[in-house]
């Protein structure tokens, strides 16, 4: 058997893939600015090495907004230093990254409260008020 360290021998190499993704983000951001059409890139589907991922994250930087979500495992969403470009990271079992995407939009869907949840919340609050005598 090979030693374990032999396996990830390519994971720490910069392959140039980050630059390709960065370029694609640029095109999608221009489309958003021109027509308002949002776009997304699924990072998990791309053969990014750990080094590529780090390079892309560094290139995009961090902007003004950062959110941590607690829903069936943790999720992190932040706007990069390029407004309209969001990094969305969903974690699954054991805190491992389940899916990760770059979303080019005014605000990611995952941050918007769904009408069904608002309705359920209103109903729950109404019941709470009915049983509470302040």
């Amino acid at each position: 058997m090979t030693r374990d360290s032999a396996a990830p021998c390519l994971s720490d190499r910069v392959t140039g893939m980050a630059l390709s993704v960065f370029t694609e983000i640029g095109h999608l951001l221009e489309t958003l600015a021109d027509s308002g059409e949002p776009g997304s890139i699924d990072l998990r589907s791309l053969p990014l090495s750990d080094a590529d991922r780090a390079q892309l994250e560094e290139a995009l930087g961090h902007g003004e907004v950062r959110a941590e979500l607690e829903l069936v495992g943790e999720s992190e969403v932040w706007e990069t230093s390029y407004p309209g470009v969001w990094w969305i990271r969903h974690r699954g079992a054991g805190g491992k990254i389940a899916t990760e995407e770059i979303s080019i939009c005014p605000i990611p869907q995952i941050l918007i409260t769904h009408p069904a949840d608002i309705e359920a919340a209103a109903s729950r609050l109404r019941k709470e008020l009915e049983t509470t005598h302040v």
Partner: protein, 353 residues
């Protein structure tokens, strides 16, 4: 039993937000190789669906497929699938036994006629009237035919159910056959592997729930999202193959350096599965990353292909016949693509100079 409420209504009552649906949908879209923008449609589809009745039949099998889909870990996004389905019968997992268990199966069939999904792991023995495997006093053949009669679709999981697997290996003493040899009047989705990747099973069920349709399948009835590419094409050791750098044995310098395992029997070039991208155990690793060649467990007849440690080029079996035309064509395309890529790269380098 299936609930009459939609999954959205049911889970909202339990405090599961639509954000959770969207997160699950993003995960499903990613593993199904759909564009991230499909997540909203998937979330809406699942939220509007009823809880799906599933009857799971286990025949000539080792329970590895069930182990794979129920792998134990902390509650997380991957577990939501168990809220989306109603597992009405699974004789390994259900509390009921004997007559009560069989009544649960019959009740689910009656309540959800035409709508339930049958998942099958294990092959079905036909020799000597199928006497080599029986459950509740009837043969596997009888139970399969009876249960599938009013099903919406059948999902064969694992290489035993999809291609005969180990029970069907030479000399196949029980006359084991795959499900598709018996059920011919229902849509059958094959999710092969020994065991199959859990995400391939849950992703396929989620797709059925969200879109009410069968995902695109390959020539062997497998979802292309998971079986559309050879292990070799997505293998991180592929660059070593291109450069002709091969481990000659499991303890030589090439093996220690992580070179290509083709010459020690890796079947990656003719094996279609998502191990190299989805990996195993929550994305930790897959056989090649752990230093062992791919066995080809998701291809028909993998057990009889001539030896796990013999290179494809010298295997005693007929790898071309074993792998099937499309698989070999895929490998050939991969080689051709690599050659084109090399030509293009050389041209770019030359022009750069």
């Amino acid at each position: 039993m299936s609930d009459k409420k939609t999954l959205g209504e049911m889970l909202t009552e339990r405090g599961v937000s639509r954000r959770s649906f969207l997160k699950y949908a993003s995960y499903t879209a990613s593993i199904m190789a759909l564009p991230p923008t499909a997540a909203t449609a998937i979330a809406q589809g699942i939220a509007g669906a009823r809880r799906q009745s599933v009857i799971w039949l286990s025949f000539q099998e080792c329970t590895g497929c069930t182990e794979s889909i129920t792998r134990a870990h902390a509650p997380s996004i991957e577990d939501l699938i168990f809220d989306f389905i109603s597992l009405d019968y699974h004789h390994t997992l259900m509390n009921a036994s004997g007559i009560a268990a069989e009544e649960a199966r019959e009740q689910a069939m009656k309540d959800n006629a035409g709508e339930y999904i049958v998942v099958v792991d294990g092959s079905v023995p036909l020799k000597d009237d199928g006497i080599y495997s029986t459950i509740a006093g009837i043969t596997n053949l009888q139970m399969l035919e009876e249960t599938c009669k009013d099903a919406f679709a059948v999902i064969a999981v694992g290489s035993c159910a999809t291609f005969g697997g180990i029970p069907g290996a030479n000399p196949n003493p029980t006359g084991a056959v795959p499900i598709s040899d018996i059920i011919t009047d229902k849509p059958i989705i094959n999710i092969s592997g020994c065991p199959p990747i859990p995400e391939a099973m849950t992703g396929t069920i989620s797709y059925l729930l969200a879109f009410g349709a069968i995902p695109e399948l390959d020539h062997l009835g497998r979802p292309k999202a998971f079986f559309g590419e050879a292990i070799h094409d997505r293998c991180y050791r592929r660059p070593f193959y291109e450069r002709g750098m091969f481990a000659k044995s499991f303890d030589d310098e090439g093996a220690r350096q992580g070179w290509c395992l083709f010459e020690v029997g890796c079947k990656g070039p003719v094996t279609y599965n998502a191990c190299a991208t989805l990996k195993w155990n929550g994305g930790v690793s897959f056989p090649i990353q752990s230093g062992h060649g791919c066995l080809g467990c998701s291809e028909p007849g993998f057990w009889d292909m001539g030896g796990f440690y013999k290179p494809l080029s010298t295997a005693t079996g007929d790898p071309l016949k074993w792998a099937g035309g499309a698989a070999v064509a895929g490998a050939a395309i991969g080689v051709a693509s690599a050659a084109m890529a090399r030509t293009k790269r050389n041209k770019v380098l030359k022009e750069g100079k």
